[in-house]
């Protein structure tokens, strides 16, 4: 009873209060809203040890059982504990400290490497998307060529109308499609919020 009904009751009451507060500009309403945000941050902080425990547990198990790729787990654990230890040293955030050197010369380049993969993946994805397999794919292909040409100087050199057509494609059909999705999303989000407040939607509590 308590495990199922009490959380739902709390969610319904809080959901209703937050809905009403949206229409009230009074400072009292603002205070409630800010409290809710503070609670969210506090809960997030308390949940972080759970995440770290989960990560350490998984990787220690992998190493102990010598599972496939256990060497990566050693690197992950080393990374976690070395940065954690260095993070406790005084003035670790100052320039030139070992902590900052690891961050600037190891972490950031690795992250940039991952991000740079996106350029290659976009190319391969675009190649697949632009194959003229049927009429719709052909429309996508033609539109994409016009938009790409319209965005570079050679497009205007071929014809001054190409940038205009490219702008039209982006501002009219593309925008119309995006807006229709956005309206659907807005209504869908409102529907889910209402279902949660009414206690119909319970999946967020691990219930069906």
């Amino acid at each position: 009873m308590l495990k199922r009904q009490l959380p739902m009751l709390i969610v319904s009451i809080v959901g209703l209060i937050m809905t009403i507060q949206y229409f009230i500009p009074h400072p009292f309403s603002e205070t409630i809203y800010n409290y809710a945000l503070d609670w969210l941050i506090i809960i997030g902080i308390f949940a972080m040890p759970l995440g770290i425990y989960s990560m350490v547990h998984i990787h220690v198990q992998k190493v102990a059982r010598k599972q496939t790729g256990w060497g990566y787990s050693v690197v992950a654990l080393l990374g976690l504990f070395v940065m954690l230890a260095l993070g406790w040293t005084p003035d670790c955030l100052k320039d030139g400290t070992f902590f900052m050197r690891l961050f600037e010369f190891v972490y950031i380049p690795i992250q940039a490497t991952m991000f740079s993969l996106l350029a290659f993946y976009i190319t391969s994805a675009a190649y697949r998307a632009f194959r003229a397999r049927n009429i719709l794919a052909t429309i996508v292909l033609v539109s994409a060529i016009i938009v790409m040409l319209g965005r570079i100087p050679i497009g205007e050199a071929i014809s001054p109308h190409i940038p205009e057509v490219a702008d039209w494609i982006m501002n009219v059909p593309n925008m119309a499609a995006q807006r229709s999705i956005m309206i659907g999303l807005g209504l869908g989000a409102a529907a889910i919020a209402m279902k949660i407040v009414l206690g119909i939607e319970r999946s967020y509590m691990g219930m069906d």
Binding site: T19, Y22, F23, I24, P25, H26, P27, F28, E30, L40, I43, G44, A47, P49, L50, G51, I52, S54, M55, H57, I58, T68, G69, Y72, I110, Q111, M114, F115, L117, L118, Y121, I122, A125, A126, R128, A129, Q178, I181, M182, I183, G184, L185, L187, G188, A189, A190, A191, I192, A193, M194, K195, L198, I200, E201, S203, Y204, M205, G206, M207, D208
Partner: protein, 445 residues
């Protein structure tokens, strides 16, 4: 004779002394800031024999009105006025200065200086981050940014008097009449949000009515099929046949985001199927709270499927909160574990293509759904099935076939039809110059 000559010789001296006295008198009449000057003083003397600076006087702004800002927390008073007749392109007024006082006749302090041509100003409580929020746009034509005096902060509920002065090139200030007293009052209802309230109430009534109808008609209520959702079961079956795990990625969304909440529903369905088929499930999480909820969801699903023994906390685990580190970990997982099916449901950003393209290269069946419009093309290109926008939100009703959820889904469709009708009527009416629909649905935040 000598006396006559003395008078004649002394005349220029007297005239010069007279002009000097007159000039001093004019200077003495110039008001100090905060004092009331003459209404209009335009003095041009073309007969001046000495190169004395020509003093132009300007007319003050008129019709100054100060009102409590509507629909706010009592943190602002709105001022408006009509510009000085001397506020022209070719000179005259160079700026307007806004003064505030707690008393009617004196104690006025300058709170803002605005560009010529400005006709309104909002005197408000200075927010801590207002400097960032009210940063001027990089537009040279934009009016100057108000420079509120921080030593005299705006206080809520205090009656204030206001004056606005037009300023000329010499710094002369021509003051408007005093407006006030006016005090800011916190509001208990935001009238600008009335269209939203009406829509919410209509939606609420529709949801309740259609849920009742759905209860009567059961799960027979028709909803159009969505290939991406029905294909989830087939994808799980394929993974079972191949003896490989299923990867379920919940994206980078926070636990309270609608896309993440919708993702739990689909996860519950996927977990129940993997429990029935005894297929391994992997759920790497980017957020500790999301991980905790996902663990509960999967655990419950395994219990409902009658296989609680198959559940392990190792199925749902935390990887990292960093975006690209998360991508590296999940991509590595895909390639090492050779996952047969990859499900991406939730909030995705730049990692969408990095994940799904890696899955595509690995040859996995992929089903995705997100409410991030910018990421949809990437998923459409790289995945076998994609739930577009609200289809992700509707998944719970599709999968559960619960009459309550179906009723809410139907209400959503009816509201969508109403919105389409309003847009259509609005477009027609506004094409003929009628703004009635536009005014009805405009939300003034």
């Amino acid at each position: 004779m000598s006396g006559h000559s003395h008078v004649r010789n002394g005349l220029p001296v007297i005239l010069i002394a007279g002009w000097v006295c007159l000039a001093c008198a004019i200077r003495a009449q110039e008001p100090s800031p905060g004092a009331l000057p003459p209404a209009i003083q335009t003095m041009i003397d073309t007969t001046a024999p000495i190169a004395e600076p020509v003093v132009l006087r300007i007319a003050p702004p008129a019709l100054l009105a100060a009102v409590d800002a509507p629909n706010d927390a009592g943190k602002a008073i709105d001022l408006s006025w009509t510009v000085s007749p001397d506020d022209r392109v070719d000179g005259g007024v160079t700026a307007y200065r806004v003064y505030r006082s707690k008393e009617e006749g004196n104690g006025f302090v300058r709170i803002a200086e605005l560009a010529a041509g400005t006709v309104a100003y909002s005197d408000r409580v200075q927010q801590e981050d207002s400097a960032e929020e009210e940063a001027p746009p990089p537009d040279a034509a934009a009016p100057a940014v108000p420079t509120a005096d921080e030593s005299h902060p705006f206080e809520i509920g205090v009656p204030y008097y206001y004056r606005v002065a037009a300023v000329d090139t010499t710094g002369y200030e021509a003051f408007s009449a005093t407006a006030g007293p006016v005090r800011s009052i916190p509001q208990w209802y935001h009238s600008g949000k009335t269209p939203v309230l009406v829509l919410v109430l209509v939606f609420f009534v529709l949801v309740v009515v259609l849920i009742q109808m759905a209860k009567i008609r059961g799960a027979d209520m028709y909803i159009r099929p969505i290939a991406g959702i029905s294909e989830i079961d087939n994808a799980i079956g394929r993974a079972t046949e191949m003896g490989r795990p299923i990867l379920y990625v919940m994206g980078l969304g926070a636990p309270e985001e609608i896309a993440t909440i919708a993702s739990y529903t689909i996860l519950a369905r996927v977990a129940r199927k993997t429990a029935e088929y005894r297929t391994n499930l992997l759920v790497p999480c980017n957020e500790p709270i999301v991980m905790t909820i996902a663990q509960e969801t999967v655990k419950n699903a395994y219990m409902e499927a009658g296989h609680p023994d198959l559940y392990s906390d190792n199925m749902v685990f935390f990887v990292t909160s960093m975006q690209f580190a998360y991508v590296a970990a999940v991509n590595g997982l895909m390639l090492r574990e050779r996952t047969a099916t990859n499900c991406y449901f939730g909030k995705f950003y730049a990692e969408s293509l990095l994940l799904s393209e890696a899955g595509n290269i690995a040859g996995s069946i992929q089903v995705a759904g997100t409410d991030e419009v910018a990421q949809l093309p990437f998923f459409v290109t790289t995945c076998d099935y994609t739930l577009i926008g609200e289809e992700l939100y509707a998944a719970s009703a599709y999968l559960g076939r619960d009459p309550l959820l179906l009723g809410a889904l139907k209400a959503q469709d009816y509201i969508k039809a109403i919105v389409m009708l309003v847009i259509f009527l609005g477009v027609i009416l506004i094409s003929f110059g009628n703004e009635i629909i536009l005014n009805l649905v405009t939300v003034n935040l």
